[in-house]
Symmetry: C2
Subunit: 93 residues, 2 copies
Amino acid sequence: MPTIVVDVMPKAELLDPQGKAVAGALRRLGNTTFTGVRIGKRFELTVDGPVDDAALASAREIAESLLSNSVIEDVVAVREAETVAAAAEVGAV
Amino acid sequence: MPTIVVDVMPKAELLDPQGKAVAGALRRLGNTTFTGVRIGKRFELTVDGPVDDAALASAREIAESLLSNSVIEDVVAVREAETVAAAAEVGAV
């Protein structure tokens, strides 16, 4: 099914306690590669029909009004899911 | 700062009550464009150094072992953040 992905992250200027906790855990486990972690949400919206401009506009409106809290969160991406590319990426790592 | 993005989603065969609730809310609000919603997590890991194969491998290991619960979740992507491309996408919608 065609899918639109919406990514929502806590605003950069706000503390992200959940991310801070994970970053602290990584440090305690001896990992020095990553200095910070922020945790947001990823929504997958199944589209009934083609992913055209109207569907993307509708997804963007929903993302701004319902899926995120604009006081503390930013919508960082609204895009069609890249099914094959994502699978290849995961396999390549 | 260079950033690696990790996307984690609930497994396809599992019920996602949070996503189901959002899908129901959309339907009640009269939206017929989207038939399903699934909600996962997006992690942004700040890398201390370049995003090379070692950093991506380390991120993948952390994603599988710490950031996701492999019983109920799948790591769907581990990739370098696409800063300019993502901004353009958001602007275009």
